[in-house]
């Protein structure tokens, strides 16, 4: 059972709502109360107390869960609305001015103000788990018991000589712990001191009951933490009253700021404890409470958080909540103005866990709440797009080397490397040996380009359009260079369609010249599979396109014949305004960006080319001849 969320009087108050941890209430430096939804990680509501600058909020406590009103005529029908988990509603805030504010999160408005009893800063507020009572401890050394039904103080008593810094009501609602100069345990019925505990030298900031057993069973434990103290002490309430010293202590790295614990209900059940320290670290403890233990216990697991910068800066944790599942935790981290909440799975087997989180991307400057409740996942350029024809869309074709398939691309690349090495050896010989005076082909250049993988050379070679030249080049390429050529062609065909148009001629030439060599390769399927998939996917739509083309052509010719009858309209412009700078622009374009210009030129050319081809094809379609596969891929 989770204890009702406590509050810390030092530092900024930051409390998770009890039970389901749906909300995080946080009072930031600017004096505003913000309630964050831990499910959606957005700001649920913001409340500005009327005197938030003068009377800042010092402590927060969530009220017990609200009950659905039991109607008098409630019948159990077959399918009525089910009981949902009860919503948390009320939030008590202690202020520096000595008043206690009750805020309703359901209505989003102030519920009531309790004031007039404290003259000093309210250090701690605690709800009674069952009755409508609220306890507050203040700098004026008094504890006040508020009756919430009337909104009046029911009882007020002096607790200590020193300011009351912390309070805690026992889970059964019969005892109250208060910390001032000493820790006192009060019987709430009689308002008398039941026990006294001394030990802390500084102000006690945290008091929590660790077990839910009755006080006279020797099994009631509670824990306390103090300012500037790096120990969390556990005290046992013993039947014989000999409970002067703390029985167990937990080692921390700094003073505790936020504590969440699962009380142990029996001896067999361990106490689970999550402590967030002032230095922003989280310590997790698990301990069976059964009597004293000399040595301070070290944490089971320590969680830290860092940013993603080059020199990682620690991101402070603000609060942590345990869940019933031992591995998952609910964390709040970042700054108080805009905390980030996250449910994390922590491997408690490791002593130190360091989480890396990017706080800055989730932090935005505008605090505007999104009312639309739409989350947009990140879509960036890094994501990969797989379209039909690209590798990855179809399964890699299984060759004879079926066993290698699982290794995938790595194995393939390795083999290419090896092969390329071999090629280097042999092709060098070939280059040396071949008569280098011939100018009607690019064979040497191509081989060099393939060897060195020089994109410039390859671009130059592959931009050739003359069929004869291509044919001759391919014919003279030495056999070991054929496979790299095929690879290169495949790679380029997967790219932009314009380059694909150019590559089709090359592929055609290769297939015509070197079929016998390719057929002799053992892993032919594997090598040409990608090419095959690509061609297949690209010609899939071809049939429909030719149909469309034919229809359009028919339409266009009809339009053309009909428009001939119409008298020609004078298309010459009546007035031509000549811009002087246009010439200059062109000129400068020519000079400055020759590359781009040539690209454009090339594109234009291909377009023309395409149109020509289309016309040719059209004539073929109308002439109902069979379409060559080569032409198909060219069209694509």
């Amino acid at each position: 059972m989770a204890a009702v969320g406590g509050s810390s009087s030092l530092g900024l108050p930051c409390v998770f709502s009890p039970k389901s941890r749906q909300y995080l209430a946080l009072c930031a430096q600017d004096g505003r109360l913000r309630i964050w939804n831990t499910d959606i990680k957005t700001l649920n509501q913001e409340y500005v107390p009327s005197a938030h600058l003068s009377a800042t909020c010092t402590c927060i406590s969530w009220g017990p869960c609200r009950k659905a009103k039991e109607g008098p005529q409630r019948k159990k029908r077959k399918s009525e609305a089910g009981q949902v988990e009860n919503q948390v509603d009320l939030l008590a805030l202690g202020t520096a001015a000595g008043s206690v504010i009750i805020y309703s999160t359901v209505k989003g408005a102030l519920h009531c103000t309790l004031d007039g009893s404290h003259s000093g800063v309210v250090n701690c507020v605690q709800w009674h788990p069952e009755d409508c009572l609220l306890y507050s401890g203040s700098d004026d050394t008094h504890i006040v018991e508020w009756d919430l039904q009337t909104g009046k103080a029911r009882c007020k008593w002096k607790a200590d000589r020193a300011p009351v810094t912390s309070l805690c009501v026992s889970p059964d609602g019969k005892l109250l712990l208060s910390a001032g100069h000493t820790i006192k345990m009060w019987d709430l019925e009689t308002k008398e001191v039941y026990r006294k505990f001394t030990g802390h030298s500084t102000a006690v900031t945290t008091l929590r009951f660790a077990t839910t057993r009755p006080p006279d069973s020797d099994g009631l434990y509670f824990l306390s933490g103090a300012a500037h103290d790096r120990l969390l002490s556990v005290w046992q309430v013993r039947e014989d009253g000999k409970d002067k010293n703390s029985v167990v202590s937990f080692n921390l790295t700094d003073e505790p700021h936020h504590i969440d614990l699962f009380t142990s209900n029996s001896k067999e059940e361990a106490l689970r404890l999550a402590v967030v320290c002032k230095d922003g670290q989280l310590h997790l403890f698990e301990h069976f409470l059964n009597g004293p233990c000399k040595k301070p216990l070290s944490p089971l697991c320590t969680v830290q958080m860092t940013g993603v910068e080059d020199s990682p800066i620690p991101v402070p944790l603000l609060a942590a909540a345990l869940t019933t599942d031992t591995h998952s935790l609910l964390l709040a981290y970042g700054n108080h103005l805009q905390p980030v909440m996250e449910r994390v799975e922590v491997n408690t087997a490791e002593r130190h866990v360091c989480l890396t989180r990017d706080v800055h991307t989730t932090l935005s400057l505008t605090m505007e709440t999104t009312v639309s409740k739409v989350k947009t996942p990140v879509v960036n350029a890094k994501s990969k797009v797989v379209v039909p024809g690209l590798p990855g869309h179809q399964a890699p074709v299984k060759g004879a080397l079926g066993s290698e398939k699982r290794k995938g691309t790595d194995a393939k690349e390795m083999s290419i490397e090896e092969r390329l090495g071999k090629i280097e050896m042999s092709s060098e010989k070939a280059v040396k040996g071949a008569p280098s005076l011939q100018t009607d082909n690019f064979a040497v250049l191509l081989v060099q380009g393939l060897e060195s993988k020089d994109a410039n050379i390859l671009n130059k070679v592959f931009q050739t359009r003359k069929d004869m030249l291509i044919k001759k080049t391919v014919a003279r390429v030495p056999l070991p260079a054929v496979l790299p050529l095929v690879e290169e062609i495949t790679k380029r065909m997967q790219g932009h369609p314009y380059t694909a148009v150019l590559m089709v001629r090359w592929l055609k030439a290769v297939l015509m010249q070197h079929t016998s060599y390719l057929a002799s390769l053992p892993d032919l399927m594997f090598q040409l599979g990608v090419l095959y998939h690509m061609i297949e996917s690209r010609v899939k739509m071809f049939h429909k396109l030719t149909k469309l083309h034919g229809k359009l052509y028919l339409l266009m010719t009809q339009v053309a014949t009909s428009s001939n009858e119409v008298k020609d309209v004078d298309h010459t412009a009546k007035l031509v305004y000549e811009e002087e700078s246009s010439d200059e622009d062109n000129a400068s374009g020519d000079e400055g960006l020759p590359d781009e210009d040539s690209d454009n030129w090339e594109e234009d050319e291909t377009k023309e080319d395409k149109v020509e081809e289309g016309m040719r094809m059209e004539s073929k379609v109308t002439g109902d001849s069979d379409i060559e596969p080569g032409n198909e891929s060219e069209e694509e």
């Binding site: 009327s50 609305a81 089910g82 989003g108 039904q149 909104g151 996942p377 990140v378 691309t409």
Partner: protein, 828 residues
Amino acid sequence: MVEHAEIRMVHRGGSKINFREPVITNDSRFLLCAAGESVNVYSTSTEEYVHDLQGHTDLVTGVVLNPSNHLQVYSCSADGTVRLWDFTDAILIKTFIIGYPIYSIYVSEKHGGVVFLVVPMADYKSSELFQLVAVHLPHSGDQEVEARELSAVLCDVSPHAGAASFGREGEYIASVKGLQLEVFFFKKQKSYRFSLKSGMKKGAKNAFTCVSCHPKEDCIATGHEDGKIRMWRNFNQKKEYTYSTLHWHHGAVNTLCFTPEGTNLLSGGIESVLVHWHYTQENQKDFLPRLGAAITHIAVSPDGSLFSTSHSDNKITIIQSCVKVSAVIQGLVKGDGVWTNLIIDPRSKALVLNGKPGHLQFYSLHRDKQLYNLEIVQQEYIHEEGLDQFEVVNAAFDARGNWLATVEERRKKGAELEITLKLWAYDELTQSFVLNTTVTAPHEDQITAMFFSPSPETTMLVTTSLDGHFKAWLLADHSDANEGFWACDFVGGYHLLKPGCCSFSADGSLLSVGFQEVVTVWSPASWELLTTLSQPPGAIRDLCFGRLSCSKYLLGASTKNQLCCWNLLTCSLEWSTPMDVSLLQADPLSENMAAFCSQSGSSDLFVFKPSEPRPLYSQKALCTGKVQHAVFAPRDQMLESCEERTQWLNRSQLYFFTQHMDLLTFSTKTEEDRLLASSKQLMVDDSVAVTPFYLLLGKHRGQQLEKQEALTNPMAERTQLPQGSIAIKELLHTPAHVLPSASFLCAMFVRSLLISSSSAREEKEHEEGEREKEEEDSEGEADPRLGESAAWGPPEEFGAPALTKAQERELRKVKTFDHSWLSSLLDC
């Protein structure tokens, strides 16, 4: 079959909150709307659910404020009752039994004690004819009153809300149906009918859709199917009526509403734009666009400061000062359909299904609240009817919630199907999903099933499609790049049959794909076809591997009323039973399986273990229609029930969707008891006001009070506070349902005043003077107090401060008579 008393079926996922027009209370703090069989009260500022008004036994069909008491509300329901509620404390004050199913309710300030209801016409019970009747609500002390005196006002009206409206000061009521507008004048007891031509020749659809009357002038605004708004004037005669036309909407005008002062007319339709027409300058209009979904109802708060629009995606938007959307009350989105299966997000434990168009919604089952919508398609949605737009049709999470796969599809009639498979990685750094790989046209036909492999070693996704293949997608790791991308690893098929379903075994070592009549079992490690199982006739509809101790079994449901269980060790049929299973679902945390069978129009549920012949739990006639979607949601905390029948609910809870898109689940008695026990009612006095202005005034009043206390006798206001008088306490703390109606209490108070003046004259005389003085003194502060209590306090505060000693005595006297005083009051 035995009815299990300890297992109940309960509604989840809220109900339709956009069914009828909501009501904003006078102080603009609460919004009330009909939600299924109850009326929900929401806070307008925090959009939280405050409480609900429960009592109706059928669909609530209308909610209106009581015109004579702004802290009360009438609700009508198809169960034939009108109920009067105190909505601040969720108390049922009175039930009026009408006896006919009620379809809408209208009230007017002028017609006190009368409600106007739309009920079916008495003679044509079966047909779809409705009439508007006036019901005089009888005054009586009983809680349940029969009100069967119906007087027909209009015949043949439309049952839809918004099809009738009261005119200026309730002098007439306008109702529209089809192509006819009918105006009934109460004074003359005469009605006029105005008809429009059907106007079909131009393609214009003239039919009326909604009506709203100007609150201050004689003007009726009507909305039409073609998007026009007509403003009717001078309609108190048959002949010389006039109308002008406003046109902006391109779709039908769904709803119209005048602001309380009548300066503006609000209209909304499918465009999801709130149009704001200025009444005097009709060509001027303002827009509030991008409200997310088609507007179905508009309501305005009585002071005109808040608008609320109900939307077709089960959402109510609250709009502040005409321009700013301040809150969104969102229920479970019930769109055109659920195409994705119900899935549980392993990270947030939320239920994931289709949400807004092109989105996936995350719905928290524990809190019964929608968390958010995740935008998947990322394309502008065009709010128009009859468009084919991308829709998410499939989604799957991997076992740890690190990967989300979605399939979106555009169904075009007669054209190529466009499918995109998207794979999203959950990035812990930024706490959001990040698109990793987009696969366009992953298959050539619709994808029928998609699952991640549950095996922890490999991240694998399998999709089956009607194109006759199933594909396995694998996350390719690139050592150089940080992230790998997804690529197809294997394409499988079986004799060109179409695969309809697939399932992974719990450890991911086996994959079974159902190819029509044949079940094929594959090994994902080597992609070998291990075995085929077949049990003709009937194609396999659903496949499921057994878990834990039953992992050797494979279950298949076929279309021909057969549920088969194969033993994978022997590759033979273990058992089969004739059952028309529409859905088979395995509990991921136990061996249990749930099978929904459709039989003669209703669904039955069987929960069983594959190894045992007897079902663990069965429920006949669960709901009408076929159950298409169901899911086992793991519980946060395990239940420790040892009863045999409820044991299957210990680890996870079964949720399912009925044909009418209601989300239902099963709950046990122990669970409910636990929930009830864990919560204590918190009674906190909330009468303290808040504003600095009040603090100032309060201080001033406090000083005055002190002065009064010093000057006058001790009978100051302080002693009159409720806790001071036992009698009043008794009266106020009596449960409201045993008290008579508020009007009676009021009468009693007045009468007690009268008696005190006659019987207790002697002490009255000097008291009178003092009271007058007091009243004079307190005049200055009386106003803020009244306003304040109107805004904040429960109604009992009105009476309390004005009580005198004599009244107290009277009350005490009344109290001594015990409850017989009620009857005596009734007599006189």
